[in-house]
């Protein structure tokens, strides 16, 4: 027997749009959408024009790409000069252009977000209190030490050349490293990255755990997406209509569902592994080698590394 309210006739015509907009997408929804988009790019799932399905870099052997990118990351980590890092970054952009990747999208991904956060963290390091040096801009100059109770403040505060250079190198290093990582994940399936790591002698157990973590992270992100899609399909889910509290409650519930689902998945995956003979030791498949070009990306890595090392030679940078 249906309840009475379910048998009532429709409440009247559906209101026409009144021209007033409900508040834009909530901060929470926008953040989750951004996280999903970032994960799709970083985990190697998002479609990338000229990426995984075309371009010479996509066709290159993953072993060469992984080795080349690792060399370039090492170079970025060792570089001490901003101009060297800039050159390395330009090399990444040139590689992206040559293989047909969308450079604008690459630059947006690289420079919006993490490097800006790095800049915020590095900001105090530009000040003379943290990094003494040649002043570029005076922020505070009273000459004598200022005492505020037990606290003694120096009489001068300036942005220093050495501090700015240090912060710039840090931000450029972050951006350059991210650029190469996106270059790799946009042109290589995750399985290829795993194959490259194995070719470099990374232990099979580590590679297997990495591959499974990636695989189930993707599954859980998909689940999260489905949860939010299902919520959008329900009444009262118009963005911002009900305030922040229900949204927070929903996110807390979604986290609980994800936790439970990941626990169930862990058990099921272990059972599936056991039924197929897993007894604690991981053995991985070494596909019969197929000849593919790998020299060029490796060469790029070597060139980048050499450029940085030249900084350290007598007469260099």
């Amino acid at each position: 027997m249906l309840p009475e309210w379910l048998t009532r006739p429709p409440a009247g015509p559906v209101p026409r749009p009144a021209g007033r907009r409900v508040r834009r997408r909530s901060f929470l929804a926008a953040t989750l959408a951004a996280v999903q988009a970032f994960l799709a790019d970083a985990l190697g799932n998002g479609p990338v024009e000229g990426g995984r399905d075309g371009g010479w870099l996509a066709r290159a052997d993953p072993r060469g790409k992984v080795t080349g990118v690792l060399l370039l990351l090492l170079a970025a980590a060792l570089a001490r000069e901003a101009r060297t890092l800039l050159a390395l970054h330009l090399l990444a952009v040139a590689l992206a252009l040559s293989t047909g990747l969308p450079v604008g999208r690459l630059l947006r991904r690289v420079w919006i977000g993490i490097p800006l956060l790095t800049a915020a963290i590095a900001l105090p390091a530009t000040l003379s209190w943290v990094r003494p040096g040649e002043p570029l801009l005076w922020l505070w100059r009273v000459g004598e030490e200022v005492r505020l109770g037990p606290l003694a403040l120096p009489g001068e505060l300036a942005v220093t050349r050495q501090g700015v250079q240090g912060a710039l190198v840090l931000v450029l290093r972050t951006g350059t490293s991210l650029g190469y990582l996106f270059l790799l994940t946009w042109t290589t399936r995750f399985s290829g990255i795993c194959r490259g790591l194995r070719a470099l002698g990374v232990p099979p157990l580590f590679v297997a755990i990495l591959a499974m973590t990636h695989r189930y992270l993707v599954v859980l992100v998909q689940l999260l997406e489905e949860l939010f899609t299902a919520r959008r399909a329900r009444p009262g889910a118009v963005a911002g209509a009900a305030g922040a509290r229900p949204a927070q409650a929903f996110v807390a519930g979604a986290i609980g569902v994800l936790l439970h689902r990941s626990e169930v998945l862990t058990r099921e995956v272990h059972e599936a592994m056991v039924t197929r003979g897993f007894r604690g030791e991981v053995r991985l498949y070494a596909r019969p080698n197929r000849s593919r070009p790998w020299l060029l990306p490796l060469l790029a890595g070597l060139v980048g590394a050499a450029a940085v090392l030249s900084e350290r030679l007598p007469g260099g940078g």
């Binding site: 799932n45 399936r189 995750f190 399985s191 795993c194 591959a211 499974m212 990636h214 695989r215 189930y216 993707v218 599954v219 998945l265 099921e268 995956v269 059972e271 599936a272 592994m273 056991v274 039924t275 197929r276 003979g277 897993f278 007894r279 053995r283 991985l284 498949y285 070494a286 596909r287 019969p288």
Partner: protein
Amino acid sequence: MAEPTKQGEPKQGEPILQVEDVWYRYLGRFPALAGVSLAVYPGEFLAVLGANGSGKSTLLRLLAGLIHPERGRVRAFGVELRPETLEDAAFGPAFRARVGVLFQNPDSQLFNATVEEEIAFAPLQMGLDQGEVARRVEAMLALLDLGHLRDRPPFQLSGGEKKRVALAAVLAQGPEVLLLDEPMAGLDPRSQDHLADLLAELHRHGRTIVMATHDLDAARFLAGRVVVLGEDHRVAADGPPEAILRDTALLRAANLISARDRRGAGARE
């Protein structure tokens, strides 16, 4: 579904799998099996029918040695399945190599980075050399028409493709016994036909198959024997499919057909 040729059911000798008065509850509270006994003989194709929650999947997990009964015994190849016997260096790996399990949810079964690595997993754990593993991988890719997907991550495939990859991964170990949990679920009609033909061929070649399903057509076309699990988690019937699938009263009581279902009209009520 095209009707594959069914072979007479050999029911002789020692059972290859045996369940004796087995009881199992989840979390110690929710009953899944309540005093179930049955035997599976070498070369049989057994369909385990039951409504949702009747205990079909639990029965398969017990037969696979993934869980153990609170009461009663489960035997495989004449050996009782207990944690100690499955840990045994001789019996454990041999049991795993001989018994292949296809799970209901392919997402939990496909944990490798690519389709070909998925198929290679079991043969590698069995200690086969890389050359033999590669041969098995190629054979399974060809058999299940997966060659064009070999480099794809399994989680990016469609439901039907995932099911095919999961089956290829199980068959690659060359199992003597197949435990299949709802193998037809989520497949389109053509894929169902293909799978039915494949299972019938495996059966013709002497494989023992236990298929948990609530798909009566699959049971009718494929199985030589049907066991019905009732909603009380006990065996409600055990016999040839022709007799059991005509018994509409039994099927209704087991919640396998609806009260409006006219199938078997004129048959035994």
